[in-house]
Symmetry: C2
Subunit: 334 residues, 2 copies
């Protein structure tokens, strides 16, 4: 029945100020008048103000500020990579749920969205703060025909999509902190966590988790000065559903260009344009533990087609591969 | 209580022809005489012939030809990578069960063994025949501190371990068909399927599934001429538990050498010695579908430290990466 609510919202939204007759809804959706009534009732229960005038029909007056799967689905274009949205009020983690679905055979393109995550995950299991109502916590399931070694590009594609999506819906100019964070005014705005299940030479599936700080007005003390939200930086409340759709749409565009070539060569210019540390001094930390703190200074030049960060150190260009080192630049080490 | 049965078997096996008193068992295991009786009863129910003579104690007379977790555990050395064996009469697939355990936080070193698999998997979901009583179907859970790009080596390490384990317990000289099969007399004896769950630069876990045809006396018609078993080739019934322990022990030895260097450089000589197609003509199939059948002839020279197969084609050495091409040599394309 999700499908009927989604289609009602799509038709009413497209009609704008015009009324849509019940008969037309029945015909376009191929369902009975009773099904239309029932689903409009459900939409109203969920906060959608739908005007109904005898002999004229229905008109969408207002949409609530909440996340709602049929509404999200109704805003996606027909040829969207995302064919289904699964919404939860509360989840441990959208990545964990998406992985469960994937193990059960769910096809590419399902988007898991949660209003709140109890155990939102950063990289390597670090905790990620996600309170209800403020952010976007979502995970897209992918089944790319790639080898595991190529998968690291998915995170970079998602970073481009978040930057592109945000720029489409609000007057902010976020930048990418390679490899998997988005920053605004030097503070963390978004984190991306890609996980995958694979064989030696074959990816079963990948899940791309995206967490964006949208309408937060403040942060827990330990994140102050380190994290920010779109609302704090722009002074405006941002429509989260609109932003989700913008990010997914941008993701699809970049993802297709990525799959066509099997690497990031078609996306280098755009990625490097949005790279926070580009042409800036960075410190490269070799060794993953605090005990082995070998550091070198250099200038970040951009990424290459495999997603490595190129850093000029003593006049020599070094390829920095994610996970081997960490890089600290003017945007800090979040 | 698994632990008590395991320890009883360990002590009795070490004692050999000597009797072990009930009092000594109580002391060594730190349990009551009642617990010893009860567990010896359980072992007898499971087919273990344990003699008991008043004033002398217990002696292990014979061991049944079956797979039994406490017995397998009792045969593993104290410092074995494998600290726990989980046995099932029937499973869909030992890899699937090991992945479930991994998702629930199971530590490295758990071995899942099944007498029968209903949906045994080959690479990319191909079916793998696994009837009860005849073979070894097992999966070892690993949590290597590796990056996803390094994980392909795990399959090659497992191949070495199977060849080494078989050579230790029976007079057969199997060879490795790169990258993930073991052949004997040109027929398939064993397949290896490594799967992993990872982030961009961090492996959560890997599961190494190993299927060995051990005591089969025949094969389904469609596999005739393509598959063989140790029993068919040696004329002898092989103790499956002994072989499992030998493979795990060899695996640990090779795996440690692999982790020390982070690549296969310390294992090249041994791997290449057992490589079925070494110095033999092979056909390299470029393109993964039948439509794109570009083929070239060459001579297989061995693998490199990253696990790629080196093939000399027209005097030039080409690196063949698993998944990009398939290679057909004198041992056929199984």
């Amino acid at each position: 029945m999700t499908g009927v609510k989604k289609e009602i919202l799509r038709v009413l939204r497209e009609a704008g100020e015009e009324f849509v007759s019940g008969q037309r809804l029945c015909q376009e959706l191929g369902v009975t008048r009773q099904a239309i009534w029932k689903n409009i009732g459900k939409l109203r229960e969920n906060g959608y103000q739908i005007e109904s005038v005898p002999n004229k029909g229905y008109r969408l007056r207002s949409v609530p500020d909440r996340l709602y799967a049929p509404d999200l689905e109704s805003r996606l274009p027909e040829d969207s990579i995302c064919h289904r949205v699964e919404y939860h009020d509360i989840l441990d983690s959208t990545n964990t749920r998406a992985k469960q679905l994937a193990e059960q055979g769910e096809p590419e393109g399902t988007l898991v969205v949660a209003e709140q995550q109890l155990a939102g995950k950063g990289r390597r299991g670090r905790r990620w703060s996600s309170r209800p109502g403020e952010g976007i916590w979502m995970t897209l399931l992918l089944r790319p025909g790639l080898k595991p070694a190529q998968a690291s590009g998915i995170t970079l594609v998602a970073a481009l999509a978040v930057v592109g999506g945000i720029r489409r819906v609000c007057p902010a100019e976020p930048l990418i902190k390679w490899p998997n964070d988005i920053v605004l005014q030097g503070k963390k705005l978004c984190g991306i966590l890609t996980e995958m299940s694979s064989e030696m030479d074959f990816i079963h599936y990948a899940v791309v988790g995206i967490g964006i700080n949208v309408n937060h007005t403040d942060f827990p003390e330990e994140l102050e000065g380190k994290a920010t939200s779109l609302r704090i930086e722009t002074g405006k409340e941002i429509g989260r559903q609109e932003l989700i759709i913008a990010v997914i749409t941008e993701f699809q565009r970049y993802y297709q260009r990525y799959l066509e070539r099997g690497d990031l060569s078609g996306l280098l210019e755009e990625y490097n344009r949005y790279l926070a540390n580009r042409e800036q001094p960075v410190t490269v930390y070799y060794g993953m533990t605090e005990d082995e703190n070998v550091t070198r200074q250099g200038i970040a030049k951009g990424i290459d087609a495999a997603g490595a960060l190129l850093v000029e150190i003593d006049g020599v260009c070094e390829r920095i591969v994610s996970g081997e080192v960490s890089v600290r630049g003017i945007y800090g080490y979040v």
